[in-house]
């Protein structure tokens, strides 16, 4: 199942990926806590300007991986380069980070909170205040400029923190589970904002266990399960790892054409007398299959070929256990 990451690197062309400079290059990251291996050898290659998703069930090692990339904790093994720097804090001024658990000082006013987050990244306070007010106005929160964080709703506070993440105009933005806690409208706004960031050349990395967001947004994804990365690469490649599914309906129930169907094809006889077949598209493609069905008088009444979604790919790659955790939707706190 493990993917050879060398497929995704240009051999001998360090710091680039398909001709694009790298925002992040991590190799063999390992992190252990008191004998427990949280991350057991993660490789990540993220080109600049990409929207990159890190997918995985709860407890897979996503947050630990992001924290190592950001320098919050150091890996026990492996190397990381972030925006060309070996020490992430050296380029902290060019990084924005929205952690999974949102937090702001409750007594701060909104624009001060944004300015403070910018100041932590080297943006002068006066400039941060100015930009903070502009950002609040631009995002429909102008009426809350002078309000304290404690006076805001949870969703508004999250928006303020998001603006604080972007106020210093970073080249790399890292979001840890950015959609959690947001309603559908704000999730849509966040997706738009992420796309706008990427369009402006900013690299956007986010972790999620909601595959739909990654499928809509990402150029590439890494799937983390059990502290490892069984897949990293373009979304299309992930999908292609699962064969397309064929749904075939025939009048005939048997004939020579049956030899063209896989041996494990599912079969159901419908009340109308028709036969429904479901199976993975054979590696030879759809044309030989069609030819065999027509030549064998199968009596095709309907035929559909469905390409696998990222969710199916994720389930297949991350494994059934991960899929169960995903379906449960159990939070890390509960776990």
């Amino acid at each position: 199942m493990d993917l050879n990451l060398e497929d995704w690197r240009l051999a001998g062309n360090d710091g680039q990926h398909r001709g694009r400079p790298l925002a992040i290059e991590a190799r063999g990251l390992v992190k252990r806590f008191e004998g427990f291996t949280a991350v057991g050898g993660v490789d990540l290659i993220v080109p600049e300007g990409a929207i990159y998703g890190i997918l995985g069930p709860n407890g897979a090692g996503k947050t630990t991986t992001l924290r190592m990339l950001l320098g919050i904790i150091d890996p026990d093994e492996g190397t990381r380069r972030v925006l060309g720097a070996d020490r992430p804090h050296d380029v902290a001024h060019a990084i924005g980070y929205l952690p999974e658990e949102r937090g702001l000082y409750p007594a701060m006013k909104t624009y001060e909170a944004i300015a403070f987050m910018g100041a932590l990244r080297g943006l002068p306070l006066a400039e941060g205040r100015k930009r903070g007010k502009v950002l609040l106005e631009e995002h429909g929160l102008g009426y809350a400029i002078d309000r304290q964080i404690r006076q805001l709703s949870k969703g508004m506070a999250q928006q303020v923190q998001l603006l604080g993440t972007l106020v210093h105009r970073p080249r790399l933005v890292v979001f840890d589970e950015p959609f959690s806690g947001l309603d559908a409208i704000n999730q849509g706004r966040l997706e738009l904002m992420m796309r706008a960031q990427a369009a402006a050349g900013t690299t956007v990395i986010f972790s999620t266990h909601v595959i739909a967001h990654a499928e809509r947004l990402c150029d590439e994804v890494a799937i983390i399960a059990g502290g490892r990365v069984p897949f990293a690469g373009p979304v299309d490649v992930a999908r292609d790892r699962i064969p397309a599914q064929v749904r075939l309906e025939t009048r005939a129930g048997d004939g020579l054409w049956r030899a063209a169907l896989p041996a494990d094809a599912g079969h159901a006889a419908k009340a109308s007398g028709a036969n429904l077949w479901t199976f993975a598209l054979p590696g030879t493609g759809v044309e030989p299959l069609l030819r065999a069905l027509i030549d064998g008088d199968a009596g095709i009444t309907s035929l559909s070929i469905e390409r696998a979604g990222l969710h199916d790919a994720f389930v297949a790659i991350a494994g059934e256990a991960a899929a169960r955790a995903l379906a449960d939707g159990t939070s890390e706190e509960q776990r």
Binding site: K31, F33, E34, F36, A38, V39, G59, A60, G61, K62, T63, T64, R67, L70, G71, I72, I73, D74, H89, D90, A92, H93, A94, I95, Y97, P99, E100, E101, R102, G103, L104, Y105, P106, A107, F116, M117, G118, A119, L120, R121, G122, L123, P124, E127, L135, E138, L166, H168, R169, P170, R171, A196, Q197, A200, G201, T202, G227, E332, E333, R335
Partner: protein, 412 residues
Amino acid sequence: MSSATPRQGRLSTVAAAMVIARRDFLAILFARSFISFLLAPVMMVGVTLLAGSIGHHGNAGDASSNVGIAMRGADVDAMLAARGALAPRMGDALPELVVVKRLAAGEAFDPRAALKSQQVVLAAVLTGSPAAPILTGPVARIAAWQGPISMVAARALGRGPTAYPDVTLARTVTSAADTSEGRTVTAEAAQTLMFLLTMLLAGMVLSNLVEEKGNKIIEILAAAIPMDAVFLGKLFAMLAISLVGISVWALAGGLIAVSIGGAMPSLPAPAVGWGLFFVLGVVYFSMAYLVLGSIFLAIGSMAATVRDVQTLSMPVTMSQVLVFFFASYALAHPGGIAETVAMWFPLTSPFTMLAHAATSPALLPHAVALAWQVLCVAILVRAGATLFRRRVMHSGPASVGGKRRWFRRAKA
């Protein structure tokens, strides 16, 4: 939003620390609870005055220098007259004579019973006659009064001098013995003041990271700047708050001193002079605060809740008392190994060196000590930050802001 190259650059550790310090300083300064903080010493002084007042009332009936006298009437009168004549020359050396009973001729009197009596509280009882006085009481008391009572009795008998030549007093500023002893008093006073201030103020650092952990802000800070800078910034902020508090209290104390006009006790001048001593006092207080604070901050950072911090307060306070005791012991044993150890041990070094400034004019040791203390602060901050990153910043939301354990197992 444009993603143009940012104007800003990487923050140095000190610059990053100042961002934290500024936020914390202003947040505390403009918090309502800061007023309570400023009033805390006023309450302390109030409690002290109240306790002193109670003690004073308790001592009002104290008869620690009262000697009861029970003799024949004429003898009593003669003894009282003799004491009155000697009192202007001997002052406090003479005990107060309280008439217990004027005895008739041949009347018996039990001095031990009189001492046990609750009606008149006496330190000793004088019986017999001026020619053969008997002083009954605890040995420590009667031994001290044996001489003075003997002189009073001699005077009562009409013996001894009746006129006394005046002794002219030729004053000097001080003597060698006086200077040394006086400076030690100044050193003790300075150490005690510094101990009280650090005890009052350094404990606040314990709970300093609880807010960040509770508000989940710690991860944002840790991602943006080195944890050393977070620790250092918090220490700077708390030190600045402490200095603001001390300034306010000193101002209030000065106003009180001026208003009561010269009634304040004065201390002998320290060896380095008052000006430099004051500067060194501020510097050594800052170093003591930073050294203690860096340890307390690291300990407090392991606490997940305010309750944990409260539990930690007692051992932390006791450790401060131990530090003070050791520094006091070193002061009482100058030139010994205890003083040398106290000068080098990071926690006692500021206290010992401040005392040293009071008793010795040499300045070079202070330069060395301050360099050493700065190094110790840097090491302690780095160690605390590293410990925090390793033990607390594990993974998952629960490990940062959780409330289950100080040292919790990671969940990825």
